[in-house]
C-alpha cells in the first residue's frame, strides 16, 4: 500500500551527486580518448583544455573508474544486504545494471590491455573497444530516457 513514502529514493543526495559526477568525468574523459574534442573546438573552451591532453584524460578516466568501482560495489552489497527485503529492481534498473556490467567488464579488460607485457589478441582488443563505446552510448541514452520519464532503479516490493 502506498503510504506516500514507499517509493522514496533510497540513496542520499551526496550519493546521487557522487554517481552523477563520476559518470560525468568518466564520459568526458572516455569520449576524450577519441581525437574529437580538439577537432570540434570543445577543448578551446576555457577550463576544458585538458580534454585534448590524452595522457590527462587517460589518467582521469582511471581515477573516475576507481571511484565508480568502489561506488558500484557499495551499491550492490548495500542492496543485497539492506534493501532486498523492502525493494526490488525495476526493469529499467536491470537494463542499466546490465549495461554498466558490460562497460565495467570491458573496461577491466582494457586496463589489462594497457599493462606492459599483456598479450590480448588484437581482434579481441578491437571488439573490447567497440563494445565499451557502444555500451556507453546505450547506457547514456537509456539513462537520459529514465531521467526524462522518471524511471527509478528500485521500487517498493
Amino acid at each position: 500500500m502506498d503510504n506516500g513514502q514507499s517509493n522514496a529514493r533510497t540513496i542520499s543526495l551526496p550519493g546521487r551527486w557522487f554517481y552523477l559526477i563520476t559518470i560525468l568525468f568518466l564520459s568526458l574523459s572516455g569520449f576524450g580518448q577519441m581525437p574529437i574534442f580538439k577537432r570540434y573546438y570543445i577543448a578551446d573552451i576555457p577550463g576544458l583544455g585538458w580534454l585534448a591532453e590524452f595522457f590527462i584524460t587517460h589518467y582521469i578516466h582511471y581515477l573516475a573508474a576507481i571511484l565508480f568501482l568502489a561506488f558500484t560495489a557499495y551499491m550492490i552489497i548495500d542492496y543485497l544486504l539492506s534493501q532486498r527485503k523492502s525493494r526490488r529492481m525495476t526493469a529499467s534498473g536491470y537494463v542499466r545494471s546490465a549495461l554498466l556490467a558490460g562497460i565495467l567488464a570491458s573496461g577491466v579488460f582494457l586496463v589489462i590491455r594497457n599493462l606492459a607485457g599483456s598479450h590480448l589478441s588484437s581482434d579481441f582488443i578491437i571488439f573490447l573497444d567497440l563494445c565499451h563505446l557502444g555500451l556507453v552510448m546505450a547506457f547514456l541514452f537509456v539513462s537520459l530516457y529514465c531521467f526524462i520519464y522518471k524511471k527509478q532503479w528500485t521500487t517498493i516490493r
Partner: protein
C-alpha cells in the same frame, strides 16, 4: 537495544566480502604475470659505424612500397576547417624526415669527438617500444603489437585520427589524408586518412628474414635479436668505447637501442628536430602513471563492499 548478529547475517556479510576479494583478484593475477620483454625483438644500432649512405632508407622504400598509400584526389572536404590536410602523395621523394612514404631517415649531427669535429649520422624510425602508447591508446585498436614486440598500424582499420602520433614521445607516425576506411564512414566529420610508420618489416620477419634496412646496410650498423641479448651487447659495446646508450629505458623501454660515442644530450642539441624529425631527449615512462593506478582498481571494490558491510552491521545493532 543490542541485537546479536545472527549467524545468517554474519555469513551474508562474510560471503559478500569474500566474493569481492575473489572478483578483484582475477585481473590482479593477469597483471602480476611477468612480461616476457626479454623475448621481444630488438635492434642495436652502433652509430659510429653509420656513414650516412642511405642504403637503408632506399631499401626501406623499395621493400615497403606496396604498403604505401595511393590516395584519390580530390579529398573529401573535412569539417571543421581547422582539420589539417596532410598530403605527401606528391612529395614521395622527401627522405630527410619521416613521412607516410618514408619510414626511415638519416639524422645528421655535427659533434666533437676527442677534440675533432665529426659528423655522426643516425638512422631514425619507430622505436618499437616495449609498452607502446601508440598501440595501447589507439581508440580503435588499429595499432597492434605483435608477440615479438613489433608495433604496426593496420592501414585497413586506421582512421587517421593521429592520436598515436600525439601520444608517441617521438611523434613517429605520419598521416596521409584521403586514404583508408574513414572514406567509407563519415569522411567529412570523422577521421582524416591513415597513419604510417616503420613496421620492422614484420612480414619479412615472419618469413625468417631480416628487415630491409638491416639487410641493406654495407657497414653492419644494425644487429637484430632478442631484447635481453641485444641489451647485453649494447652494454658491452658501450663499456668498450666508453659510450652511451639510448632506447633502453626511454618510455619504459624500447626495442631500438642506440650506442653512441658522445652523450645523447649532445647529439640531441646537434640534430635538427621537428615534425617528422624525432629528438633524442630522455623520455619518462608515459604509460606508467595510469598503469600504477590499476592496482588501486583492485582495492576499490573491496573498499566499497567493506563500507556497505559496515553500514549493514551498524544498522543491525
Amino acid at each position: 537495544m543490542e541485537q546479536e548478529i545472527s549467524r545468517r547475517l554474519f555469513l551474508k556479510g562474510g560471503l559478500a566480502t569474500a566474493a569481492g576479494l575473489a572478483a578483484s583478484s582475477i585481473p590482479g593475477a593477469t597483471a602480476a604475470a611477468q612480461p616476457d620483454e626479454g623475448k621481444q625483438l630488438a635492434t642495436l644500432l652502433d652509430i659510429r659505424k653509420c656513414i650516412g649512405c642511405e642504403a637503408c632508407v632506399e631499401a626501406c622504400s623499395e621493400v615497403n612500397s606496396a604498403k604505401y598509400p595511393d590516395p584519390q584526389k580530390p579529398f573529401p572536404k573535412m569539417y571543421p576547417s581547422r582539420v589539417p590536410v596532410e598530403d605527401w602523395s606528391e612529395k614521395k621523394d622527401v627522405n630527410d624526415r619521416l613521412t607516410p612514404y618514408n619510414w626511415l631517415f638519416i639524422q645528421h649531427a655535427d659533434v666533437e669527438i676527442a677534440g675533432e669535429e665529426t659528423e655522426l649520422t643516425i638512422p631514425r624510425r619507430c622505436m618499437h617500444c616495449v609498452n607502446p602508447p601508440c598501440v595501447k591508446l589507439c581508440p580503435w585498436g588499429a595499432a597492434k603489437q605483435l608477440e615479438n614486440g613489433i608495433s604496426r598500424i593496420d592501414s585497413d582499420i586506421c582512421l587517421g585520427g593521429s592520436k598515436c602520433r600525439k601520444v608517441c614521445p617521438w611523434h613517429i607516425p605520419q598521416r596521409q589524408t584521403g586514404t583508408g576506411l574513414y572514406l567509407d564512414l563519415m569522411p567529412s566529420m570523422a577521421g582524416n586518412g591513415v597513419m604510417y610508420k616503420c613496421d620492422r618489416c614484420y612480414n619479412l620477419i615472419a618469413d625468417g628474414e631480416v628487415p630491409a634496412c638491416i639487410e641493406a646496410c654495407p657497414e653492419d650498423v644494425q644487429t637484430i635479436g632478442p631484447r635481453d641479448e641485444i641489451l647485453k651487447k649494447a652494454h658491452a659495446l658501450a663499456d668498450e668505447i666508453n659510450g652511451y646508450i639510448y632506447g633502453e629505458k626511454e618510455n619504459g623501454g624500447t626495442n631500438t637501442i642506440y650506442v653512441s660515442p658522445v652523450p645523447f644530450e649532445e647529439l640531441n642539441k646537434a640534430i635538427e628536430t621537428g615534425k617528422g624529425k624525432p629528438h633524442l631527449k630522455p623520455v619518462e615512462d608515459t604509460m606508467a602513471q595510469a598503469n600504477n593506478l590499476a592496482a588501486a582498481m583492485l582495492v576499490a571494490p573491496i573498499a566499497g563492499i567493506a563500507a556497505a558491510v559496515g553500514k549493514f552491521y551498524k544498522q543491525t545493532k
